[in-house]
């Protein structure tokens, strides 16, 4: 099965991190990518949510607003696509994503059309 792992972090808290801590986090993500490569079908980190633009089309008109769709305490900072045999395996991989220890990871099964 395929799952999308949505990685949530508190950007405000991250902004206060020391340079050292950020480098360590970056390293941790690199290690995760290498160690769990067999389960990963791609994934990216995203620019902070203040770069987000939300788009809606109503009555044929495109409306754009500044900022993310939902204002929440934690913001989506990146994602992975996971290839796992079942939810238990996906939970195990998600638990190793570095942000799981300070933010949260939401795993959603991909809707497959077959």
């Amino acid at each position: 099965m395929r799952y999308l792992a949505l990685i949530y972090d508190n950007e405000a808290a991250y902004a206060a991190w020391s340079e050292e801590a950020r480098v360590a986090e970056y390293q941790a993500y690199n290690n995760f990518g290498a160690e769990q490569a067999q389960f990963l079908g791609g994934g990216k980190a995203l620019q902070p949510s203040n770069t987000a633009t939300t788009v809606r089309v109503r009555d044929g008109k495109t409306l754009t607003t500044d900022g993310p769709f939902a204002e929440t305490k934690d913001q989506i900072g990146g994602y992975y696509l996971l290839n796992c045999k079942d939810l238990d395996e996906a939970i195990e991989v998600a638990a190793k994503i570095p942000s799981a220890t300070h933010g949260a990871v939401e795993i959603r099964p991909v809707l497959e059309f077959d």
């Binding site: 099965m1 799952y3 796992c84 079942d86 939810l87 238990d88 996906a90 099964p109 077959d114």
Partner: protein
């Protein structure tokens, strides 16, 4: 016709969970498996009336249920992933399958336990699903036990089954890394089912009794299945839970008075305790403890067994009980356990020792809204002769307590204390 109906419903009661477990193992779809079983029950009603009751009704029902699942899959216009399910089912079909009556139904109920109690499902859904799929309780029965409308409960069950299918919640015994916590999750669900039947005053007496009986039956099954699968490390706590439930259940008749009010342990008529359940509980607990892997359920069962052994409240081995609470505190620290320990210590070493524990650390702050804390403290103060402090504590307990009968009890105590204070003042 009546005897046929009875035979079908008895077979259903005895074999449904085993058949569902086996079929879900092949088709990975709760709803499909349940629908197929319903189809098969209808066929059984017709055929058994004509051909007679089969030699092995359970195996007969399994075979027909599997065929009905096949029919349903074929009708569903085979999508790619349905092919896999079809293949699995076809492989199980044996040549001349009409006479599969001697083949035993494989027991896959342990996997079903883990799936129903998977932490990716909400706790309420876990409880409902376990009662429905493993316990064979109907949706209206579960709804009435938890005081929710039937459509709400039906919706809860459907959502849970779909999440299992769509989110890929596995149908297998968890890997050893997570086995311990997943077994705990199952035991916790069974414990909650028992509690709903035992402690809560909601729902009819009949349904609540059924919840207790069902949780004991499932705890027994869980222990058996873990033993069969040689998962030795997990057996002691499963047995511990079973012992705990049996020991609690032995007091079921004595703990409710004539007007439906709760009777405290020390006021219960001990001759009304069910000795058979006590003996069985103690036997199972001994077996668990002999495996030398103590856990919270075993310790709680040991405390319950000590109460059960005392023929009079005065015979209670309070020093031993307070020592066990101390062990429990180390395993699963919680303010409620600390409160219980303080009460046990007071019984063993006198009220002042108990009061000392109540006043230690953060306990008072953590339980400041909990009326039983103030009631326990008031009781110890009263026994220590500190009547004015006792009065204040009873007042607090009274104000926090929402239960009518408990309030009446606290009010009675409060009056007694006030009378004593007045008499002392006069003296």
């Amino acid at each position: 016709m009546d005897s046929i109906q009875q035979a079908v419903s008895e077979t259903f009661a005895r074999e449904a969970s085993r058949i569902l477990a086996a079929l879900i193992g092949s088709v990975r779809d709760f709803e499909l498996a349940e629908d197929a079983l319903q189809d098969a029950l209808l066929v059984a009603l017709e055929r058994w009336a004509v051909d007679g009751i089969p030699r092995n009704p359970g195996a007969w029902l399994m075979t027909v249920t599997r065929r009905k699942a096949l029919d349903r899959l074929r009708r569903k216009n085979t999508l790619a992933h349905k092919q896999v399910q079809l293949q699995e089912l076809l492989e199980q079909e044996q040549p001349g399958g009409e006479d599969m009556e001697d083949t035993a139904i494989p027991d896959e109920r342990l996997k079903l336990m883990f799936t129903c109690c998977h932490p990716a499902l909400g706790l309420e859904a876990q409880i409902a699903l376990t009662l429905h799929t493993l316990g064979g309780l109907s949706t209206p029965e579960i709804a009435s036990a938890f005081l929710v409308p039937v459509p709400t409960m039906a919706q809860r069950l459907v959502r849970a089954k779909r999440k299992i299918r769509d989110a890929g919640i596995p149908y297998r015994v968890p890997e050893s890394r997570v086995l311990g916590e997943r077994v705990d999750a199952v035991l916790h669900v069974l414990y909650l089912i028992f509690n709903e039947g035992y402690a809560a005053m909601a729902g009819s007496e009949l349904i609540r009794r059924e919840l207790c009986d069902e949780s004991i039956r499932l705890a027994r099954l869980m222990a058996q299945l873990l033993i069969q699968e040689s998962l030795a490390s997990e057996v002691p706590e499963a047995l511990g839970l079973l012992a705990l439930l049996l020991l609690h259940d032995s007091r079921r008749e004595a703990r409710v008075g004539e007007d439906g009010e709760l009777v405290l342990l020390e006021d219960q008529e001990r001759v009304r305790w069910d000795q058979q359940k006590i003996e069985e509980g103690k036997r199972i607990l001994e077996r668990a403890l002999s495996m030398r892997r103590a856990g919270p359920y075993q310790i709680q069962a040991a405390i319950s067994a000590l109460h059960a052994q005392a023929r009079q409240p005065e015979e209670t081995d309070w020093p031993q009980i307070s020592a066990l609470y101390r062990v429990l505190m180390v395993m699963t620290p919680s303010p409620i356990i600390e409160l219980n320990r303080a009460v046990a210590v007071a019984m063993a070493d006198g009220p002042l020792q108990g009061l000392r524990l109540l006043e230690q650390g953060n306990l008072k702050k953590e339980l400041s809204d909990y009326y039983l804390f103030h009631a326990a403290q008031a009781d110890l103060l009263r026994r220590a002769g500190r009547m004015r402090d006792a009065r204040d504590a009873y007042m607090q307990a009274y104000q926090l307590c929402a239960n009518e009968r408990e309030r009446a009890f606290l009010e009675r105590r409060l009056r007694e204390v006030v009378v004593q204070i007045t008499e002392e003042g006069d003296a």
